[in-house]
Symmetry: C2
Subunit: 206 residues, 2 copies
Amino acid sequence: MMEKPAETLTPVHALISKRWSPRAFADRAIEDDKLHSIFEAARWAPSSRNEQPWAFFVVTKSESESFELLLGTLMDSNRVWAQNAPALIMTLAHTVLEKDGKPNHLGFHDLGLATSNLVIQATALGLATHPMAGFHPEMARARFHVPEGWEPVSVIAVGYPGNADTLPESLRERESAPRRRKPLADFVFSESWGSPSPLVGTSKNK
Amino acid sequence: MMEKPAETLTPVHALISKRWSPRAFADRAIEDDKLHSIFEAARWAPSSRNEQPWAFFVVTKSESESFELLLGTLMDSNRVWAQNAPALIMTLAHTVLEKDGKPNHLGFHDLGLATSNLVIQATALGLATHPMAGFHPEMARARFHVPEGWEPVSVIAVGYPGNADTLPESLRERESAPRRRKPLADFVFSESWGSPSPLVGTSKNK
């Protein structure tokens, strides 16, 4: 896989800096125990009231029918490359509390915490991940019989990294584009909204 | 710090398995470069459309006025122990898109991704973290002049791990309680809602 480590002013752990979202996957299945591990990692994320308001669907190319069903929920622009991933994972948030069915406004947030664990663990195992919000949640709901109170949120392509030369030309360029992020001073504050924390405000000159 | 590694059926990376949310913090400041690193880690999280719909307030005990302001937004049950953490971080989600102000339903989710990076990086640096949803978001909004379109979501206590004996007796017991999670078969499906993926359904017998 192309290496695109994050350019950081202070060091961050390699599992965080080297993770990015490629579109090229190798034609190689993922071992069952590795797939198991990435869900085990998701399982141990923190959540408000320990609600664990998350669920996942996992389909591999060998389960061709389920794979096609989930692949078919993706927007065209994602399907064109995601069809070559050996596994797809749909993530779902529980938006009501288990106890009493009242709204849990942290369902999406806590799913994000679990999904991040999943992605980090995949990275640790040498797997590439590409989370996509570009899919049709209601189509996914119908196809996989998702009950009310649960929301399909993303589909993640997972697999061993592949060669960018295998991508259509239009995507090859995006694959090598640098990763960009806002500067820390834009979003780390201390005293009041918009005033950067001295911690990061001075970091530009370090 | 008490060690409470997650009990997993397949191995997960130590940064994930050893992370938990303690209430006891050491009386020791966090180095500036370490605090900087944990925001740098958050910065490199993935997000839908690369919106990066997250912001953070960070206050340390040395900034006593801001620290007291944020501490004062916590519910009593959290304030009793969080007051001893050397730093508090408030996380905020952008719930509208930068471009056109239309709703971004992934703001909370993507903040969760960034928050997880922050927590993982803190763990890598030997710091303990305890995210809390138990605070008053609207009080925080007023005190820190948070604009519309941004939602205060959590406050995270951060610091070097401390001795559980320093906690009030009522909390000491919770500190040593085992960490619990649902079994994977409850939330990892493949063909249809509620039918466990063979990947995890069989894992109980491994």
